[in-house]
Amino acid sequence: MKKGTLLIILIVVILFLANLSLFIVDETKQAIVLQFGKPIRAIKEPGLNWKVPFIQNVVFFEDRLLVYDAAPTEIITKDKKTLIVDNYARWKIIDPLEFLQTVHDLIGAQARLDDIIYSELRVDLGLFDMSEIVSERREGIMKRVTEISNEKANTYGIEIIDVRIKRVDLPPENEKYIFDRMKAERERIAKQYRAEGQEESAKIIAETEREKTVILAEAYKTAQTLKGEGEAEAIKIYAESFNQDPEFYKFYRTLEAYRKTFIDKTTVLLSTDSDFLKYLSKP
């Protein structure tokens, strides 16, 4: 019974000492052991570690990627346009010792990152026109800003993995100008479409009119040709027949013409010399 009691006391004491001297560094953390506030060593690998109880203590630092999200700021581009740039950065504590000595903690780091990234971004964005920043230069600018900021941040035990422009927007008053321009542009396009439609329509109508005229002209041509052929044929037929006795034809046809021309109330002057009346004067 005495033995048991001793064992328990021993276990408790061991656990108590272990609790004071052993500490776990998690996969997500890194640590610095301080002796009376003076850094002794940095622990970057996760696992079980020890310290001297009472005279040493441990501070932990985040070992994961950290977020730096700045408030949107106004930046003047090379072509003197104002842009509101909202950027963020992903960063990491790579040297906890340096980090502790220079910026001390996350709040200090945040302030330092503000200085570094903001000024670098301002300088770099000022080198380019707005359109370049929005489109083709964006990636390059971000790379450059990341590189240079990273170099500067290294002295604080910080590595900047990525500086990224999240949003590039125009100030509200410029937005209005853009909207007006977009409207004007759309109006122009709409006008163009309608005009094109009218043009196309006019073309089709003109072409249709032309085709109609051509069709009718062709028809006229064919018709006239046919009529001419008919006339010619008729003339030929008449001529062939009447040529058998032109005198008789003339006589016969004249009589026919008389019948048609001398109709009612025509006054005719008849000479007693005429064939018809010659028997009237000399019986």
């Binding site: 996760p46 070992d63 359109s131 909207f179 109609k212 009589l255």
Partner: protein, 339 residues
């Protein structure tokens, strides 16, 4: 009061006497010890659900991944486990938020997040959903903080960058698929560069619209397009109406002419046939027939006419004999007039 006090005191003393007996009774002590140790060891049993993976750390250091099912880790504080849901697809929304998943689904638009600049300095409103899941639980747990915010930030940056590379018309129409794929790739690259262990399942572009302020103008362009084809259709309608009519008219004209031609020929043939017959008979008695024809004609035409008969032998000048002013002669009554 004192009595009461003593009684209480006595009870406590009695109890105190009993306690050591209980604890230090060897048998009970043994049982309790075994029980405690057993419970302690059993605390390492854990279940990994089918959509999870168990990530085990020993003294904070990653050691292994356990598959779904019943598993065991050494008890705390030696080993600890977390079980992130790796097959579950999570989503973040850009440009809008789902207020209630419905039905009916209700959304809230976030113009500040949705409006973005295009490469040609126009503004579009784009809304997208990003779906992601964990592909590497180790990276996901140990390399990044705030995974959802990380995905959202990176997705916004990627979408804006991709839209910024395009012109507005492209972004609004044909470029949709490209924007989706481009954003997905860029986002994945970013998340990989953070060693986040996140896999982008899909970037779905919900809507790319012109901003509200210019919506009308864009709609008008659409209706202008409609107008254009309307004008063309109308013209084609006119064409379709007119040309067949003209063709019909043309056929009519030519047919008429054909008819005329045949008519002329047939008439000629008929006239000639008549003349030929007459001529044949005429040849048989030329003088007689001529006279007969002449007289018959005269007989036929003269009765209806006003006649003035002049004897040229006595009045050589015709003019003198004209009955100028004397209407009685001109209107000499004929049978027809009298009627």
């Amino acid at each position: 009061m004192p009595d009461y006090y003593d009684e209480e005191k006595e009870k406590i003393i009695n109890l105190a006497e009993k306690i050591p007996k209980l604890i230090f009774s060897k048998k009970i002590f043994g049982i309790i010890l075994v029980l405690v140790i057993a419970l302690y060891l059993a605390s390492g049993i854990f279940i990994v659900a089918p959509d999870e993976q168990g990530v085990v750390r020993r003294f904070g250091k990653f050691v292994r991944i356990e598959s779904p099912g019943l598993n065991y880790h050494l008890p705390y504080p030696i080993e600890t486990v977390v079980t992130p849901a790796v097959t579950r697809v999570k989503r973040v929304e850009i440009g809008f938020r789902t207020i209630s998943p419905g039905p009916p689904v209700r959304y809230q638009k976030l113009p500040a997040e949705a409006l973005m600049l295009t490469g040609d300095e126009n503004i579009v409103s784009a809304e997208a959903i990003v779906q992601y899941k964990i592909k590497d639980p180790v990276g996901y747990l140990f390399n990044i903080i705030l995974p959802e915010e990380t995905v959202k930030n990176a997705a916004e940056a990627a979408l804006r960058q991709v839209i910024g590379e395009r012109k507005i018309d492209e972004a609004l129409t044909v470029g949709k698929y490209e924007i989706q794929e481009g954003t997905k790739k860029l986002l994945q690259d970013l998340l990989d560069s953070y060693k986040s262990g996140i896999f982008v399942v899909a970037v779905q572009l919900q809507d790319v619209n012109p901003p509200n302020e210019v919506q009308e103008a864009f709609k008008d362009v659409a209706s202008a397009k409609e107008d254009k084809s309307k004008y063309i259709n109308q013209a084609q309608g006119y064409e379709n109406d007119l040309i067949p009519k003209a063709r019909g008219e043309a056929v009519q004209i030519t047919k008429e002419a054909e008819g005329y031609k045949i008519e002329r020929i047939k008439k000629a043939e008929g006239d000639v046939a008549k003349f030929n017959s007459i001529l044949t008979e005429y040849k048989k008695g030329e003088y007689i027939t001529q006279a007969r024809l002449y007289l018959e004609t005269m007989e036929e035409i003269l009765p209806n006419m006003n006649k003035v008969i002049v004897d040229l032998k006595e009045n050589q000048s015709l003019i003198n004999l004209l009955p100028l002013g004397d209407t009685s002669i001109l209107t000499a009554p004929s049978k027809e007039v009298a009627k």
